[in-house]
Symmetry: D2
Subunit: 326 residues, 4 copies
């Protein structure tokens, strides 16, 4: 039984996943995709960076696109409950033998930067600059009408080890996929904020970012963006979907931005705030796990991801593989 | 029994309602509403007129907005099947004692202009300039994503007399409202193209145009435009809805443009191409006739309409009244 | 240029495609699928047959499922405008050298039975028994909430020849696919009632029925039936979709009933009543033709179909092939 | 400034609102409404009670309907994080001078029963019997496809006093309505679980329960239930909507069960987990507060509610009134 009991009193209080900072190789091209096509809002723009937020968000940004020479992911950001949680976090990472340092980051103040056991760069802060929610500025809606960042999904070469690290931080499990024979975890979905996940871990060459998940209000928003992308020159960016995941129940669409960074637009997962919620187990052999309606995912979806600069990617220890489309 | 048998071999072949020409008092203001807010497409723009079409339409326009000093409706346009139908129509109107004249109209060629028994200006043509359908130009969708003109609804002071006139022209009845006691028709829905209506007639001070009906693809398009209008300064233009009509089954929203011209956006009526389709009768006393879900329409919806220039408006002969909201 | 001018004054007036009679091998199993899962309404049930209609329909049935030993399609039915059209049809088929005979068919009266040049059995009638529309009996909606039969799609070994035959009957072309090099028609969509099609013809081993198309009111109805089928034991019946066709703009889902008969559930095509509507050409090489969003159709979708009893199936003369999923 | 700072470290940890126990006067009639019409699931049924849950819920029930002679609400239930929170709660209520007693309640174990300052009966427990989620049992979906209980809304004669009591318990404010002149709170929305509310308080004769809010997955689910209720004999149960609230952004429908207990079905509020989220203020004079699209609520919606047995109802101290429909 590879699932460990949830840590109900974690060493520090993470509220939710908050933001991702990407390196992109052509800011104008990225803006055309994220802003003009998908409908993200530009909160701020500098010579070398775009700060984006989704429609309901009051935090300054959920995505930073920074100009660079190699497409990659610079950091994954989490919001903690209060200032003191940053100090608690610093102490905890020290006990884990993970170097952590405080830096002052524009728009989000005192920030703790560290890495997980595989070197994946993560950061914690407590208060980001607040800006107006555009939730009821319906005139500003376009593209996919993205509402808010919901989760990140990461490849790791050892899901069990990564899972135990994040579980110790207080992430609680909602669902997981395990191999039939050895009952080894192949992928796991963990949350802090009471949805299916803030953080998912998937078996694969890692650490790499598989995708960020962005919540949209209605399933019809996803159909609309399929129509828009496929008829405005962005057909090649549509990687998978629309479809329904068995895991999480999400109605999903997977996109690849101009640098290959993967974005999931989704709707209709469920609430997980109850601390006694039992994790749901799926077999790696069950194809409805990935698509309730039956169509397998393309190979690229299982194999490609965004690297973290300077972080070595390792081969996964678990060799079991899901069914893929040819 | 006030319903007459359908005329299965009409004197000339009307394909469908095609367009409406309005006089508006401020073109820029009208453009802001019809184009920027509702999402109609500008096919052509002159110093004093805007030619608009909806997204799937290949005809040059379904709405003309012409600058003038008094808001009114200049003409209601119908497309006939072939050139010879114009001549057949001319002969038929002559037999009805209705003056009719051929004029040459830009974008639609030879056009027969005439009036109905109450003086309502109507015109017939067979081939309008063709332009690209934007049905799959999803990047051009905005506002309500209007798809096509579907029908016109007119006040008449004598529904029975107007009904018999249009019935003789080949309009077939799909539904009607009649008084409980005398079984007198209070309103009637008639079609040529196989939907619930191309033309509806409603008891009231007339002739006046009650509204044009514009079809949208999904009910969620109507919810979206409610959100957009109500948060971009156009809340006062929302007159009624959204709701479901008992009659026609339409999921509807009624709007008033800056000159008070009424526009219905709707979805989900049904097919009526079968010539043996029996008209459906509703009682004027049945409130679900107007709103299946119960809420009565506002008074303005029953009382206000767009005039035709120089055409006298008469009091309706039938005094029965539906239930209205206070 | 393989497209012929539309026949604007056809020899007899076909209103629309009306019904299909299938042979199925297990009536109870078919009922479980069509009625309990998909939501068709049983108008009548005999020892060896089920008469089904969709929710808005007033005709007695659009589908007959008749018990037999071999799954096949017995006849494709069309409604004509008036009684005299049956006699006009009989005369026309005689001139085409196609044997035609009048039979009396329960629920639909005098019926003309004949075949097309490849032996595909078709029949014509003018008045079917009328039953209540359940359009506003929302308590009876379930499964996919099917609204009405819309079209049939048939494999033919020679699309050009079949097309010319049906065109001469008055079917008008809305869209077609042609080979890039020789401009040979590979598939064609033709209508009588003013939608994209009543009848489509596809290159392949034929004559066979490819599918019947059933219109649903909203795209969300299709998402719902995907969820229902995939979680109630009917996952294997989901062959393709949901997705958006480039051709016709339909949001589609393809299903296979327990005997392999293919059913398309779809929403959102467009209006084609204008006689001057130019047919839209697609290249066989354009993958967005079949799926606007990019995913190719499975091989089975191109290769499998329902046979007509006693009718020989021929190899198609045109060898060009579309792109398929592996 | 009537808003107090949020209590970030509350005396005990409430997870969310969990359930409501009603007295109803005719169990069979209530079952026909809640189960057959609205689509709630029966988890258990006894001679005098029905235990209902919504589709995604794993808790044994969110609604108990108990047979009685007078329609009323017996208790409002909240889930706490862990067993010890019950003891912490008991101590805290003691310090507030509110009598509290532990009882053992079937299906939910040790339960703390108490009342708020106006005598409203509330209870706390930590672990309810777990049952299967039907989230992906799509064959069981019907009616409104209710997904989960989301919130309760209560009339109180003194919103400020009630608000301060629940705020001290850790409920955080998302939105509130205040009078223009005196800046007095007229209504307030407070949450524990990171949505717009678990508990709302409204100025009026109280304490009474205004409604429970039940979340549905899509706006189209609400349109569907309008169609079903209005055509299956339940039209009189439709009190208000569908519409969009300004407050909370909910797309809503208000219903009254056979005993007059009010149920809100809604979709599309937003996430509030960030502890630094600033409450949003609305003016009582702003009609878009109650309906973004403009239509005022009926008088009954402001005046009627469910009583608590043996609890005196007091006149509100604040006399300001919102705009209502005539």
């Amino acid at each position: 039984m590879p699932i460990v009991p949830p840590v109900l009193h974690p060493p520090f209080n993470i509220v939710r996943v908050s933001h991702v900072e990407y390196t992109v190789t052509d800011l104008a091209r990225s803006k055309a995709y994220w802003v003009d096509a998908l409908g993200f809002i530009v909160t701020a723009e500098t010579a070398d960076a775009l700060y984006l937020r989704a429609l309901e968000e009051r935090n300054h940004h959920c995505v930073i696109l920074r100009k660079g020479t190699t497409a990659c992911v610079r950091v994954l950001g989490f919001k903690v409950y209060e200032e003191e949680d940053l100090d608690r976090a610093a102490r905890w990472f020290a006990t884990q033998g993970r170097p952590a340092a405080f830096v002052d980051v524009v728009h989000q103040g005192r920030t703790l930067r560290t890495t997980d056991p595989f070197g994946m760069p993560i950061e914690f802060y407590t208060a980001m600059d607040q800006v107006p929610s555009l939730l009821q500025h319906y005139g500003a809606y376009k593209g996919a009408s993205p509402q808010r960042i919901d989760h990140i999904n990461c490849f790791t070469p050892d899901v069990q080890r990564s899972y135990e690290f994040y579980s110790a931080m207080g992430f609680r499990t909602s669902e997981y996929t395990a191999t039939e024979d050895t009952d080894t975890i192949w992928a796991i979905w963990m949350h802090r904020k009471g949805g299916v996940h803030d953080l998912a871990l998937t078996n694969g060459y890692g650490p790499r970012l598989h995708h960020i998940g962005v919540w949209v209000s209605q399933m019809t928003d996803i159909i609309r963006i399929c129509d828009v992308l496929s008829t405005t020159g962005f057909l090649p960016t549509m990687e998978r979907g629309p479809g329904r995941h068995g895991i999480s129940n999400a109605f999903f669409l997977y996109l690849r931005d101009p640098d290959g960074h993967r974005i999931e637009l989704f709707n209709s997962d469920y609430m997980t705030v109850d601390p006694d919620l039992e994790p749901k187990r799926w077999s790696l052999r069950d194809p409805q796990r990935q698509t309730l309606w039956g169509a397998p995912a393309p190979k690229s979806w299982f194999e490609e991801g965004s690297i973290f600069p300077g972080v070595d990617v390792s081969e996964p220890t678990l060799k079991a593989q899901p069914i893929v489309a040819h």
